[in-house]
Symmetry: C2
Subunit: 197 residues, 2 copies
């Protein structure tokens, strides 16, 4: 972000009552509504996936449940997965574990920015690099001792903000739902049924 | 998938020595190489993310480390995240927890299809629906008792394949790296440093 853009952002913040580009009135409206009526906080997020043959599949996301109602997204989101040639795919999309890193990066970023906004911490720029370790001996079933999932994930954030706030910003990452899902684990119930026709 | 497509797939399987659209010689080549030299199984997957302001950010995926070498993807993958208006965003992309459901759907699907192929189980069609529960009282910091991540995720698969194989196919989902990362958890190390300039 150039100095000019930063200055434009500052002006936009004043005009729209945003911090870090987030409309504070909207965000705080949601917070206050849930404070008054905690049941409003229950959400169900959803996805549909269709196998396209080989290692390719496509996820479609159309809506979710929040604030005691079904809510449609403004548009349908489609996400494509494949594997690289070395993993017997044709490299037409990020592979599933790369999609997981994307989910984690997006969530920790969004969580940090929103919680910083609520605390009045202005962020000018934010970027991150992620790396995660997987040993294919687990996935391929070659060793029972080797875990099948990521054994470690590292995220390095670089942030342009008041340098005294680095430790506070780091603590805010602990609010991220995807970070919590991955570090604490969550139960996943799977049903497999025959499709007729 | 229509009957004609299924028949075309069957013909393609014969021509290319594929099962479920996966090139078996390529897949088994990878398996045998790692069996001979388990160190080849070590992989590092990577992603870079840039905050775009507000609740929007973009992940870029360009390559990974496997088989003791850096490998570039054939193309750069970009993934976009945002939040819906009710969560103070502008709905320009799936939100981070929906991206997590996508990663899980993609991975369990790919794992089931590949492990079925190795076992000679032919799959004609496969689709799934996912739903996960999150209580925003956790993310918003309104309650210390409420978990911040998903508390439960459900996947319903519908599969067109020999009906006697449903239980076997269900068991194969346990090989999925993303499923294992989410159900068993993984450590995530976060660094936050000031960006100069």
């Amino acid at each position: 972000m150039t100095d000019q853009m930063t200055s434009e952002q500052a002006q936009a913040d004043i005009n729209d009552a945003t911090i870090n580009g987030i409309h504070m009135e909207k965000l705080q409206g949601t917070v206050h509504a849930i404070e008054q009526d905690p049941g409003l906080g229950q959400c169900k997020f959803r996805a549909r996936n269709t196998w396209l043959g080989g290692n390719q599949n496509r996820t479609t996301i159309t809506g979710f449940y929040a604030a005691r109602q079904e809510i449609a997204h403004k548009q349908t989101f489609e996400l494509h997965a494949d594997e690289p040639p070395i993993l017997a795919g044709s490299d037409e999309g990020a592979n599933p574990v790369e999609h997981l890193l994307n989910a984690l990066a997006a969530c920790v970023t969004t969580s940090m920015v929103a919680h910083a906004a609520v605390r009045g911490i202005h962020i000018e720029e934010l970027e991150s690099e992620l790396e995660g370790d997987i040993d294919l001996n687990g996935f391929l079933g070659l060793s029972e001792e080797v875990p099948k999932g990521f054994t470690n994930i590292r995220i390095n954030f670089r942030v342009k903000a008041d340098v005294d706030n680095m430790e506070r910003l780091k603590r805010l990452t602990a609010y991220s739902p995807v970070f919590n899902t991955i570090t604490r684990g969550a139960p996943v119930d799977i049903r497999v049924e025959a499709k007729q026709g």
